[in-house]
């Protein structure tokens, strides 16, 4: 992620010059390969632009490992609801589906 015009330009140039390491490109952000070379490029960008470059590592999300069945089931049930206008909190009230604020307070 970039936070200045110069860093954003630097990222754009990086993506153009090293197309093979770029998984996805967004406006001022990019998702790079999980390789040491991609990390090296990200570090170079941060050396050039300091705090205007944020480097984070992403992880694939496995809903079968990360959350319990109730959360997956609630998502499926809500997507399948009859009344499209019902917000999830109302949908979950009085059922076994997890409460949204309780989920908010729990770290993944």
């Amino acid at each position: 992620m970039t936070y200045s015009v110069a860093a954003r330009t630097g990222l754009r140039n990086l993506c153009r010059r090293h197309e093979s390491v770029v998984v996805r490109r967004f406006g001022r952000a990019a998702l790079l390969d999980e390789t040491v070379y991609a990390a090296f490029l990200a570090l170079r960008l941060r050396e050039s632009h300091g705090g205007d470059v944020q480097v984070e590592r992403t992880e694939p999300f496995n809903e079968f490992a990360a959350v319990e069945p109730a959360v997956r089931e609630a998502a499926a049930a809500y997507a399948d609801r009859a009344a499209k206008a019902t917000p999830y909190a109302a949908f979950a009230a009085g059922t076994d589906h997890p409460d949204p604020s309780a989920m908010r307070d729990r770290e993944l």
């Binding site: 200045s4 015009v5 954003r8 705090g51």
Partner: protein
């Protein structure tokens, strides 16, 4: 805002026709309808203070603590295996058990350090996130500023366009027929366009001309100062173009 003289004081200019005309408009004291908004955005940007947040030290500490924990876990496991093997063989195990106890204590301390390091990193990361929110706000403002400045240039250039079109008739090499309806539609050579922009501007100080613009003015019958409506004109040969700029 760019000083008009900086744009139009030397031809060829480094600027597009739109920028030249906007500079001409500003030299005449015109300002755009978004001038106040531009000033407000600039003030807002100036007021943003982004403290550099150092998180590398915290990351390094976590990495070191993790390495140390892993190393000690291995050592404890090895000593435990060793102690058990000795016991099964009926061999002396006291020294190994002492070492095991020491390593376990070290591991416990390392784990405590690791937790502390992770907490410190979490705090540093949260602080960095807040600082990034400010950076992000600043970047958005800068983008908005750039768009507003472009709007202002377009507006000013459009306002000057009728005068520019007439001026093309007065400068050598220029033709109002090339002008079209708006700056983007200009379809003629750039040297007479720059001369016309200078002519409709109020440029302070001498204007220096080089290259095609200098040739056009030198070949004209009217005096250069009258053509460009400036106090002084310096013509530079192609040879000293680089030296003079």
């Amino acid at each position: 805002m760019t000083d008009p003289g900086a744009v139009l004081g030397s031809v060829p200019t480094d600027a597009s026709l739109g920028r030249e005309l906007a500079a001409a408009a500003r030299s005449r004291g015109r300002s755009s309808s978004v001038a106040d908004e531009i000033a407000a955005i600039e003030a807002e940007i100036d007021a943003i203070e982004v403290e550099p947040v150092e998180t590398a030290a915290a990351r390094r500490r976590v990495a070191a603590a993790s390495d140390e924990t892993a190393r000690l876990k291995e050592r404890v496991a090895a000593l435990r295996g060793d102690a058990q093997a000795r016991r099964e063989l009926g061999a002396e195990a006291d020294a190994t058990l002492d070492a095991l106890e020491a390593a376990a204590a070290e591991l416990s301390a390392a784990q405590t350090e690791r937790i502390a390091a992770e907490e410190a990193l979490e705090r540093a990361t949260a602080e960095a996130r807040r600082a990034r929110d400010e950076r992000r706000r600043r970047l958005r403002l800068r983008d908005r500023l750039r768009n507003r400045r472009r709007d202002a240039r377009r507006e000013l250039a459009s306002a000057m366009y009728p005068a520019f079109r007439s001026a093309l008739d007065a400068v050598p090499g220029g033709s109002p027929a090339d002008a079209g309806r708006e700056p983007a539609a200009y379809d003629g050579p750039s040297a007479p366009a720059s001369l016309a922009a200078v002519r409709i501007a109020a440029v302070e100080g001498p204007v220096s001309l080089a290259g095609a613009a200098a040739g056009l003015v030198a070949g004209a019958e009217t005096a250069a100062t009258a053509l460009l409506r400036v106090d002084a004109v310096r013509l530079r040969g192609a040879a000293d173009v680089d030296a003079g700029r």
